[in-house]
């Protein structure tokens, strides 16, 4: 059994604490916003100058002056504030966010990761990825465990151009949750139907298995979204 993209996002959302200040990168991370617990107050940061991104507006309700960094038009949540790029990156690079959730092409056992330039990509574009990676105290990566071609994305050493060195704290994939610790990678949770050896076989870097390693607990669907398959 595997998590869907929505399932990964759901699982990450469960781990975000009340009072968190969270930046969501493009791809799976953006989906996290759909699964936040409404009982927990969490501020979503957008690098173009919003702290407190609200839901996407209904079609026809868009405000042309209010957009988020990754998702086009957005609304403002209760308690939101607006500012310019310099203050926004003071938040990011100054370590003020609690979490940056980012997609990745590869993550290494050292916490190095690559997410901004697919090898061979003709026109590079970096955006705020490198700032988020060095600034946020908790960089969580959300990605599929394997590439489309079935190759491991959790590797001994990244071959794609790096986003930042030694910054990833935790990796959420469709198969497992893995912490990046000083001593190496630690398998914390895995999907039902898989065992640590099976996860290791799909992971190039060496995994230690946490003493309390357990199954990922995610419902089959949530608000109509399929979370596992």
């Amino acid at each position: 059994m595997m998590l869907t993209r929505e399932g990964i996002a759901y699982r990450i959302a469960r781990d975000l604490p009340e009072g968190g200040y969270v930046n969501l990168g493009v791809g799976i991370p953006l989906l996290v916003a759909n699964f936040l617990d409404p009982a927990k107050e969490i501020f979503i940061h957008s690098e173009n100058g919003i702290l407190g991104v609200g839901p996407t507006p209904a079609r026809g309700e868009e405000d042309l002056d209010i957009v988020s960094a990754g998702a086009g038009f957005c609304t403002l949540a209760l308690g939101a504030s607006l500012f310019d790029h310099t203050l926004s990156f003071t938040m990011i690079r100054g370590g003020h966010l609690t979490h940056a959730i980012l997609g990745a092409i590869e993550v290494a056992a050292s916490g190095d990761f690559a997410n901004w330039r697919v090898p061979g990509q003709a026109v590079p574009a970096v955006g705020g990825a490198m700032d988020l990676a060095v600034g946020a105290p908790n960089v969580y990566v959300a990605m599929s465990h394997l590439t489309n071609k079935g190759k491991p994305k959790i590797v001994k050493s990244c071959s794609a151009p790096l986003t930042a060195r030694a910054c990833v704290r935790r990796i959420y994939t469709d198969l497992a949750i893995i912490d990046v610790e000083a001593g190496g990678l630690v398998l914390r949770e895995l999907m039902p139907g898989h065992d640590p050896a099976g996860i290791q076989a799909k992971t190039e870097a060496e995994l230690k298995v946490a003493a309390d390693c357990r199954e990922i607990d995610v419902p089959e669907t949530f608000n109509g979204a399929r979370l596992r398959q």
């Binding site: 209010i66 790029h85 490198m130």
Partner: protein, 234 residues
Amino acid sequence: MIDKTLADCKQAVARVFDGATVMCGGFGVAGQPGQLMEALRQQGARNLTVISNGAGGGDFALGGLFSDGRVRKLIASFPAPSAKAFRERYLKGEIELELVPQGTLADRIRAGGAGLGGFYTPTGVGTELAAGKETRIIDGREYLFELPLRADFVFLKALRGDRFGNLNYRGTMRNFNMVMATAGKVVIAEVDEIVPAGSLAPESIHTPGIFVDHVVQVARHPKLVEKRSEEGST
């Protein structure tokens, strides 16, 4: 009496010269000085260096500068897949690209506007964007040295302006506009409305007039508004 208002965008861009460095504010569809950039496209200056977060879209406004082959170099953080005109020229090898992480771009512009000689940032250390850059260990952490950016002309978009050049933004329009306002020899703002002197509350002025040379009132161009919905954010 101070009066920084101009009649139209054509007048505002008249002095841009071949080889000039030009900053363009905006992020995604918010705070884009689209009318000024379209006027600049029509004005015809060539061999420009453009500093902007993104690279515009197709053949209109900022994107139009690329489709018309008027840009020698782009300094940007995110020339998105939707920046078709730029990408086409870039892939033909006709435009130089200096890719800068977004926070570094904002702070290089800030350093330019604030009279600083440069700064050390942790962003980009150990990546290919650090190539050729000086590194330094400060208090046990590695940093890259980054130089200031300034421009001959800066184009901004704000919601309201007055004859003193004071500007007020709305929503996410501030983005790069506020910092770019500080870093230009000639700074020109496109606003939805020029309001009477004294009608902007002192607390609500985001860009004080000291930074702004000219203000032009233009209705939002229907084509630009339409483009906005198409392009999404960059």
